[in-house]
Subunit: 328 residues, 3 copies
């Protein structure tokens, strides 16, 4: 299987980071372990390690995103890499032909890594299949497909609080249909052997195929949250409101917005997560977002550490023997 | 008083730099002294010191400004810090709630310093009151309130030429009403014990309350400039012309534009300053801007040194014992 | 002549890099030799040399260009310089007076180098004539005048494949009238003693004066490409189509687009170059662009090395005695 997986090189080491689907449990644990060592770098007075000094990383954002771009930029700088921010409007590269010329040009400039965000599902895989052998590609979100670094930072956050995935019940709440975060998280939770993954949301926002991933579907918050250890709230894209998919914001909040009242159905020590930025009063009540169960800001911090770990790994700058030993 | 002043930590050291109002004379002298040592760094072949290596500074500009942002960016780079440029439209953060989420997120990314420019008076103070204890905030201009780094670079420029503030007469000319620069400068000149501060401008552009700061008000240039040592010209925001506050540009120039003719009323060795960018032929004649009394370009150079000094001080990277000794 | 040439200092060393016109053959060879040593830096695991550490370079782009700006930014970063990206709309600086204030301000911030792109021919020369003595200016394209770094990277590419310019026949194809690249290349090929330079294009796109540069003019591809060693295709600015200067894109491609069929008239080992980005199916067929004669992506790589060499030379950071020895 390693041979077919474009994400791994012939020795089974991480070469690209495109989707959680297709990665093994030992590899995810390796990423989580490295991230733990980088989490301490962030707290040092000098938040810099020289692992990627002299490497050039291009942020290829075909879809705008200040927040995610910033975390990759910070991760790159703290690894001492040089970073180029390239905002490429999708219109200018609507033809695959021209996109491939852009990639060839950046390769010829001796870039070492592309961090790609694109509105089309599969864009990062496509780019990884096209680039020269010395280049690594990281998926920073592609259409409705995956957002694997977000999923890994969430796994890291869960692990900090809950240790053993095989004993956990996790609920993901909201607009599953349009969410690449949800898709990556379900895969990651499955790979890590999570006991139960639940999906909660209105019929219109839960795709039929999702059941194939082994999740349990709920349309009611109180029963869906019953005794869960982790609640992952998704951001509601307000522009969906305009279509027929959703009732009003008020109605949505009443049914699926997370309040302390609804949260009482979860376990007493449940943690609440959200990929941010949050819509207070739409999918989450301020009392919950700022309350004792919330680990939302820890997720942001972990996002830097996870991205440092993944960037260093795909560049081969972390000891791979050590990597293999951990797999044993 | 130290306890109440949000700008100082419990040992009386500079923690934030938000306004000149509330700072002591010894502290302003300490800033000026440190800036003097940084002014030489700028002239070295390698214009870099490692004082803030591994620190992350976020330029939070809610109001666009290439010039001021650039000087902070250069100061940060010459101190070896990593810098993030974030242009945040005010509309997107119109609710205080959402602004505070943005701040929390940047804190969670382990930023060390926010450089803030905002259209609302008091925004930098508000942000400083909200941030985590490890973060320092520098005000890069808030509404009509203060622009304290500009005032300090002007004090530095005056000191280079005039030495003793207690013997000086300084005139500030133009649109005082809308000028955060004027407000910060009046405070700085007062704290440094300047003998006389004069304000010159049309009735419509001089706010009533300004007299409380102990300044003398003039509406005529010839009498206002009589025997002054320093003339500070303010930039005329041309958009004010549209309102009823001002006559035509020509009329304004005739009455308040600085010409060599009017400058003859000042002392022979008077210096002419301007925060830039200048409107030639509106508030200042080219013969004056480029003439022997002008120190306008020296102000720009001093701006980098002053910002390096303040950034290093709020980060605690300058020897504080030395600091205290200088206060004695 | 050295005395009159603003590009050279009084010792004949490169101070600015504004146009190929006026530079000597030994100097061009010196640039090509240095670029060769930098080309290896780009292939090292750590693509960085400390030659310009602590120097500040300002990218002054009055005309937008992601591609050229990016190569200068990468070259600067790999030389360890600090770089400021300033996009200045031409409208804001339409008065020379205000442009000169912008330059004075950047000088006062102790910038060391300006990389200038401007829609007006002669803009870089004008700026070089205005700046303070410690500042170097590099022309990154001025109107229809010159784009000298592009010409040098093309000369470098030719030299890699063809060695001796005095035995070469080179054809430049397309819109000569609007092309600063063509103008710089003709000068460079002449200075390097190229045996024959040909120009191929429709009457409407070949300016009359070009014959003074000693080129041979062709309006037919088959005869123009006959036995040439090098083919330089120019990018067709599609907006020219709207005017009366050109027939349709299809018609243009039929007559002047480079196909393998037409390329058969050139020598068997001819190389095909293009400054990029290419318009596939307009001035060049994909079979040629991606074929064995194409060196288009090599040009991109050489662009970084050439710019590193020129930036280091104008800053005096390359041994000038060595430079002189090479001239002997």
């Amino acid at each position: 299987m390693t041979g077919k997986n474009i994400q791994l090189d012939k020795n089974g080491n991480l070469k690209h980071f495109l989707s959680i689907e297709g990665l093994s449990q030992p590899l995810l644990h390796t990423i989580l372990n490295y991230a733990e060592s980088f989490a301490t770098v962030d707290k040092r007075p000098v938040k810099k390690v020289p692992l990627l000094r002299g490497k050039t990383i291009a942020n290829l954002f075909f879809e705008p995103s200040t927040r995610t771009r910033t975390t990759f930029e910070l991760a790159a700088k703290r690894l001492s890499a040089d970073i180029l921010n390239l905002n490429i409007s999708t219109s200018a590269t609507s033809k695959g032909e021209i996109l491939s010329d852009t990639l060839r040009t950046l390769e010829a400039m001796h870039c070492d890594m592309f961090v790609v965000r694109h509105a089309n599902s599969g864009a990062a895989h496509y780019i990884a299949s096209q680039v020269a052998p010395h280049i690594s590609v990281i998926n920073a979100g592609d259409g409705r497909h995956e957002h694997p670094t977000q999923a890994m930072l969430d796994m890291f956050t869960i692990k900090q609080h809950k240790k053993d995935f095989t004993k956990l019940s996790v609920a993901i709440v909201g607009d599953i249909l349009h969410s690449r975060v949800a898709r990556s998280e379900i895969h990651a939770l499955n790979v890590l052997g999570t006991n139960e993954v639940r999906i909660i949301g209105p019929h219109t926002l839960i795709p039929k195929e999702i059941e194939k991933l082994g999740v349990h579907i709920y349309h009611d918050m109180n029963s869906g949250l019953k005794d869960v250890d982790v609640v992952v709230m998704l951001r509601l894209q307000r522009e969906r409101m305009r279509g027929a998919l959703l009732p009003s914001e008020d109605e949505y909040f009443k049914r699926y917005g997370l309040t302390n009242q609804k949260l009482k159905h979860a376990k007493k020590d449940a943690i609440v997560m959200h990929p941010g930025p949050i819509n207070r009063g739409v999918e989450i009540d301020s009392d919950v977002a700022d309350g004792k169960h919330s680990v939302i800001l820890q997720q942001v911090s972990h996002g830097i550490a996870i991205r440092m770990a993944i960037m260093a790994m795909v560049m081969g700058q972390i000891n791979r023997d050590e990597n293999k030993e951990k797999k044993k």
